[in-house]
Structures are given as structure tokens and as C-alpha cells.
Assembly symmetry: C2
């Protein structure tokens, strides 16, 4: 495998708080500092969520703008990826910051269960987020929480809703979604290669599973998230 390895850093996520982990960067200044440290250590993609002052997830475009400005200044050449994930807002709010034209944005193309709720990505919203990304030339990172999401991404790639080379992240280890399972991981790669031969992929495991998935991903020629 000769594809260069891309290290993706998810600096904040949408769940952990200072109370749970005092090291979690919450303010934009903290986020930029922490991204800078990861950049120096070799990370090339910054996957970003933003938070309100009370630490709850936010989808405020102003916060995303300030974060992007800080990262661009401190980490020249780093790829910035905004999260459009469902914890930060309802419906189209989730994509309100796409007009800032980050390099990439996460895109869920299906629905699934999360630990205590349904992660809702209705078809109409999926199409709207994809069209916003297309309009603003933002490259989607498909979040594949289940196998059908890979089929759906390939379908949207074929019909032009997601133009260019697909970039898919396999997410494993979220309770009530897909567990960390080696056979499934291999079948994900095989299915993606079959349906979208020029696609690239990375993998994210939740919590302690991240290390396991990183090892599998590096060995199989994918990218990793730290």
C-alpha cells in the first residue's frame, strides 16, 4: 500500500465536557492551541465541532469561522473538516456553516441508533447537506455507521450528488450501531472497493477501540484518526 497515511485529529467531539476530562478544549482559543499541537505532531486533517460557552454542542457559523481562521493561521496547509453531525443542531442548522467553504465536512447518509437515541439523518436532509457541500466545493467525509451507508454513498457518487473521489470514514464501537468487528471491517473495505474503486477511506473507533481500529486501518492502507 503506497497511499500516504493521513492523520486526522478530532479535537473536541460533541460529547465530552471539562468535568469529564479537564483537557478537552472547549473555547475557540483552546481548540486552536490543541489543533496546533496535533499539527506539529503530524496531523493533517482537523475534524472540528464547536461548543457553546456552557459546553453544549453548537452549530454557530461565527464560531466555526473563528476556529477556521485560527487553524489557518497557526497550522498552514492543514485540512479543516467541519462536523455536520446531529448533536449540534436540528435539520438544516447542521449545515449553516458550509458557506464558509471549509476544505471538508462530515456527511452522514443514513440513520442508525446511538447509545440512547436515534441518530436521525432523513433522506431530504442528506440530499440538502450534500447539495450545500457541492455548491460550496466542500469535500464530504462520509460517516459510515453501517453497511448500507457505504451503498448509499456509492449511489450518490454515481449520480453526481457527491462528485469526485469518495472519502469514507468507517465508524465502529458506538453502542447500538456497528461494533468493532474485524470481519465487518474487511467487508466494508471490500464493498467500498467494489462499488467505488477509486474511493479512499479512514476508520474511527470510539473510546478504547480507537487504537484497535488505527492498527487495522494502517495495516490495510487506510487513514487514521487520533
Amino acid at each position: 500500500m503506497t497511499t500516504p497515511c493521513i492523520l486526522c485529529v478530532a479535537i473536541t467531539g460533541s460529547v465530552p465536557t471539562k468535568a469529564a476530562n479537564p483537557a478537552v478544549p472547549i473555547s475557540i482559543t483552546e481548540q486552536v492551541e490543541s489543533t496546533h499541537a496535533a499539527f506539529e505532531a503530524g496531523a493533517s486533517i482537523c475534524h472540528a465541532h464547536v461548543r457553546n460557552d456552557d459546553e453544549t454542542p453548537s452549530s454557530d457559523p461565527d464560531k466555526f469561522a473563528r476556529l477556521m481562521e485560527g487553524v489557518q493561521k497557526h497550522c498552514p496547509g492543514m485540512i479543516i473538516q467541519f462536523s455536520t453531525g446531529g448533536r449540534s443542531g436540528a435539520g438544516r442548522e447542521r449545515g449553516g456553516m458550509l458557506s464558509l467553504r471549509p476544505d471538508m465536512a462530515s456527511l452522514s447518509v443514513g440513520s442508525n441508533n446511538f447509545p440512547t437515541r436515534v441518530y436521525e439523518n432523513p433522506p431530504e436532509l442528506v440530499d440538502w447537506l450534500a447539495s450545500e457541500m457541492k455548491t460550496h466545493a466542500v469535500k464530504p467525509e462520509i460517516e459510515a455507521f453501517d453497511l448500507s451507508h457505504i451503498h448509499k454513498a456509492a449511489e450518490m457518487n454515481r449520480d453526481g450528488r457527491i462528485p469526485g473521489q469518495l472519502y469514507v470514514q468507517f465508524v465502529m464501537g458506538v453502542k447500538n450501531a456497528m461494533p468493532v468487528d474485524r470481519e465487518t471491517f474487511d467487508f466494508y473495505i471490500q464493498t467500498l472497493n467494489r462499488l467505488a474503486p477509486d474511493a479512499q477511506w479512514c476508520a474511527a473507533g470510539i473510546g478504547p477501540n480507537q487504537i484497535v481500529l488505527n492498527e487495522w486501518a494502517i495495516a490495510a492502507g487506510g487513514h487514521t484518526r487520533a
Copy 2:
């Protein structure tokens, strides 16, 4: 493969109306007649939805009771399976008829997209439906709309939430969920055999795909739905 082939008939479903297809049985009397014809033709499981007089999906326990009585009278020995699917009601309404103790009931264990909406099966509702089935000795048929649903069913089987031998239906061909795909079908069987070696399975394709899936299922030793 020496497992006897079980033919499952889904007499009404939750979507088609008389306007779309005048042959769709809507009233309980029509449903019993149509089930009887399928029974004479060899069907051994009746998968049942009920409808309101205006043809919209219903979860009225009285209607389910009358249907069960009619089928038991006209089709002695036929297995009756009630649908707890999401079109017929919201939340626990969907399982209000499980105390009638049908032989089986459908059970979705995860969420996914449907053609125009999210098919919502929140974790708390999944657990409640499974516990109702356990209390009333109703055997669940797991509706697997995606790969993680097979993992989830096996997990619930291991920890006793779904006791006994698992019975799983692979559903393919629903727009925005899993398409009809031979490699995925084979991986479904392989995954189920690995995670729950004594499980049985059947397959349902939506619309014209039903025939394709029936052929695959019969050849692979599964049960079929007509």
C-alpha cells in the same frame, strides 16, 4: 441444506391501498380469506398488519384479535406473526397487541432510512418490545434492514433479551436502506452463522426484488416470503 422451507405470506403490508391495487385485502374478512388462499397454497406463516377503515395502518389490538381468531379458525396450524413495524403507530402503541400472544411478531432492533423518512426504533423501544415478547412468549422475527441489526440481534440473544433460537429476516430493496446485493446477502448469512450459529433466517425483497431474493434464499437454505 435439509432445513424444511417455510413459506411466509405478508397479506397486506402497511402501504398499498385499494386505489393502488384493488386486490389488496383491507378488511379483516378480506384478510382472513386471502390468508386462507395462501395457506391452501402452502404458506405456513402469516405476517400480518391491520388497517383502519380508511385503509391507513392501524395498531388496534381489537383488529389484531379478530384477525388472529379468523386465521386460527380457517388455517389450522398456521403460524401468526403480528407486525410491530413503525408505520402503524408511535412508540409503545406498536406493541399493544403482543398480550394477545400471537406465535410470532416482527421486531426491528435498529433504525435506518426509508424512502422518504427515518424508520425510528429507539433503543428504549426496542428493549421494551423485546421484553413484551419475552413476557408473552411471542417469538420475534428480527427485521434486519442493515448489517448492524444482525450484530444487535445476536447481542440481545446472548444476553437473554431475545431468548432461544434467533429468527432473522433480511430485508433488501427498500430505497435508502439496503439494496438487493448478492455479496451483502452472502455476508449477512455468514455473519449470522458466525454470531448465532443456531439461528434461522428468511429474506424479503421489496417489489420486483422479491423473486430474486426468494431464489437466492431457497438456494442458500433460508425461508422465503411471498
